[in-house]
Symmetry: C2
Subunit: 176 residues, 2 copies
């Protein structure tokens, strides 16, 4: 589990095992056994590897991934405030992924953005703010309207297509 994460991050950084071991200050034998899944590394070792890889260490202890989920505007678990005219809808909670990039995306009317899959285990969260958007995995896109929420795994080809002018949305990308 950790083994795969370390190897994935190392290859994503384009480093050899020897080079990463040198930069992190650990013996390459240690790193080799670690990537082979033998034993549990100490926190110090894993920390050194995380620093050398430029990833915040919790990224090296990943976990499984969900699939596609849509919450329509008005659906979802609403949390109302008694004290004020305020309502919140919980869309996603409790992931312990590490990197989380937050975007605001704008797509011209009729424009289509194709994206090949990102790193395995990445998850995308999308909330449409205005316009209409068709998004999701390339083989199963979903039509969304303002307030709609969509989440899906980003490790397969996917797309964004605006169905109305001035379409924009909030996009959270989680990289495991």
């Amino acid at each position: 589990m950790i083994a795969a994460a370390v190897r994935r991050e190392r290859e994503r950084a384009g480093l050899t095992l020897t080079e990463l071991a040198r930069r992190a200050g650990v013996a390459k034998s240690t790193l080799s056994q670690l990537e082979a899944g033998t034993g549990n590394p100490s926190v110090e070792t894993l920390w050194a590897l995380g620093v050398a890889l430029g990833v915040p260490f919790s990224q090296l202890v990943t976990s499984p991934a969900p699939r596609v989920q849509v919450i329509r505007a008005g659906d979802g678990q609403r949390v109302r405030s008694e004290a004020a005219d305020f309502a919140g809808t919980l869309l996603a909670a409790g992931s312990h992924h590490a990197r989380r990039d937050l975007y605001v995306i704008e797509i011209g009317d009729g424009a289509v953005r194709q994206a090949q899959g990102h790193t395995p285990g990445s998850v995308e969260h999308l909330v449409v703010a205005a316009g209409r958007l068709r998004a999701g995995p390339a083989d199963a896109p979903v039509d969304l309207e303002p307030g709609d929420y969509l989440t899906f795994t980003g490790d397969v080809p996917h797309r964004y297509e605006a169905l109305a002018p001035d379409t924009w949305a909030v996009l959270i990308m989680e990289h495991p």
Copy 2:
């Protein structure tokens, strides 16, 4: 550093050292030395403690916190796509916090939501989708319009106040 985090979480859960060691399946001597800051624990040990404490493990390796930052609609680092009429704006990236709750919030015109500070180190991210919103720390609120992005530490009293009808926004709450 880790020592303090473990002790803090253990006391926050109201557990004794002996009880936590029993639940996590580690020797209490190990836990005692760990909280004393002696040596580096292995990942497996820390993981077991995280499970027993009900925290996602990366919470045991904390880090500092930012303050308030506003990115106006149209500002920010834009990432354009050459292939399609598509533009994305990166708002926040690379946090290594653990729990991340995603909300869509709706606030009635003129309504004010007050919130006392949450757990130390929590961070809130806010993107206004429609309407006008005054939000932020109670002593330094900021007026936001659709597309504006605001982030601030949530461990101090803060507020949300709608300045127009049909105001809603996307809210990401990070709990360290």
